[in-house]
Symmetry: C2
Subunit: 237 residues, 2 copies
């Protein structure tokens, strides 16, 4: 399998970078080939805007999603976007490694999604969830946070993590674009862990990757339960 890692940490000696290295080594141990988009090292520009397009379909007024389609079809979208789209299309599995910032990805990774997950190729019209452009590919995330495990889940302080606070990412982004979203690998309480527990965590990440093909897929909305305009069936929209 071809695996693309999208990595968002500025420091090579960080725990998140160690997670990337550990997961990459485990995929390679499986016989997979791994490519890494190391966003800080690439100085990836996360700011979407008019500079993303050369010749525009409407030079007078910018409708970003419309110009994404036009620019990609005509080869006039920015080169860095084109390159990253190519990497995603070439991959069977896309993995994200990052520290959790405000229950989302760091801005450099959010902007990679804003600019790379273009309308038309990744989603659009009726192409979402099971019909999304990335159907047939798997995605996963391995991320760190400061909070403890018991702070998440029903009746806990912050509620569920992957299906609650991070629903925007796992369902609203990866699932929406059609990926089969593998249950994430979550490293809790990282800034406070002693070295031996960090090493244990990296060993668990290796096991996660080695059992990747058997890991559960997160449930997504089933389009069969919705009508042609995505209205809930049985209720007129």
């Amino acid at each position: 399998m071809k695996v693309l890692f999208v990595h968002a940490h500025s420091e090579a000696d960080s725990f998140v970078s160690a997670m990337r290295d550990s997961a990459k080594a485990a995929f390679e141990e499986r016989g997979d080939t791994v490519t890494v988009s190391d966003l800080y090292a690439m100085k990836f520009n996360p700011v979407s805007g008019p500079e993303d397009f050369g010749q525009r379909s409407d030079p007078g007024h910018l409708t970003y999603a419309l110009e994404q389609r036009h620019g990609y079809e005509n080869g006039t979208i920015a080169e860095d976007i084109k390159t990253e789209i190519g990497k995603v299309l070439d991959a069977d599995i896309v993995g994200f490694t990052f520290p959790l910032y405000w229950f989302g990805t760091p801005a450099i990774l959010k902007g990679w999604i804003d600019r790379v997950f273009i309308s038309g190729t990744f989603y659009g019209g009726k192409r979402l969830y099971g019909n999304g452009g990335m159907a047939g590919k798997k995605a996963f995330a391995a991320f760190s946070l400061g909070g403890r495990e018991y702070m998440f889940g029903e009746d806990s302080l912050h509620g569920p993590l992957a299906t609650g606070m991070m629903k925007h990412f796992f369902q609203g982004t990866l699932g929406y674009a059609g990926f089969s979203v593998v249950e994430p690998f979550i490293a809790h309480h990282v800034p406070y862990l002693p070295l031996d527990q960090r090493q244990k965590c990296l060993a668990e990440l290796r096991d996660y990757v080695l059992s990747f093909d058997r890991l559960p897929i997160m449930p997504m909305p089933d389009l069969k339960n919705f009508g042609p305009r995505f209205e809930p069936l049985g209720k007129p929209a």
Copy 2:
């Protein structure tokens, strides 16, 4: 009252920029003073990293949240961050105007949060939700999206919007930092609306702002229901 708008759209002729102008005019009609951080116009840098700090508490290894505290206390944090923190601290109300990108804020605004909502001043230790650093201030968002209203809510395609897909922002960011979070103003289906419906939407936004003091506040977790380590009371952590 002093109102700070944080605005994230590259185009001055966009509907989101018209929303900002409409809301700003309505606050001024109330007698409030409005400052705008127009992130695209300011070319705000959304990428957090080692460049955010001058003299560091630990030059050898970067722990971002730790250096935020140290840099702010010692005045060595980047000038753009210092300026934006000052604007937030000076405001009674902070409003966010943006187009919804992947059920979150555009990266330029996500990075404003990553860099400006610093540890120590905005949150940290036991300071979150009702005890967060921004307690006593109100926050709101007025944002646009392509989806229709019936696609959100229980049993709908994407589930609830403000408390589901955008829980990371309203609860996990604004509520977490202690703001009283006013129910958002949501402009659905914007790219497909004819001019008269867009004008109607801007008029509704004016009404929203004119009735701002009476708008409902979104419920947040009550820390009284959790123990000293934020474990749910009655269950040992």
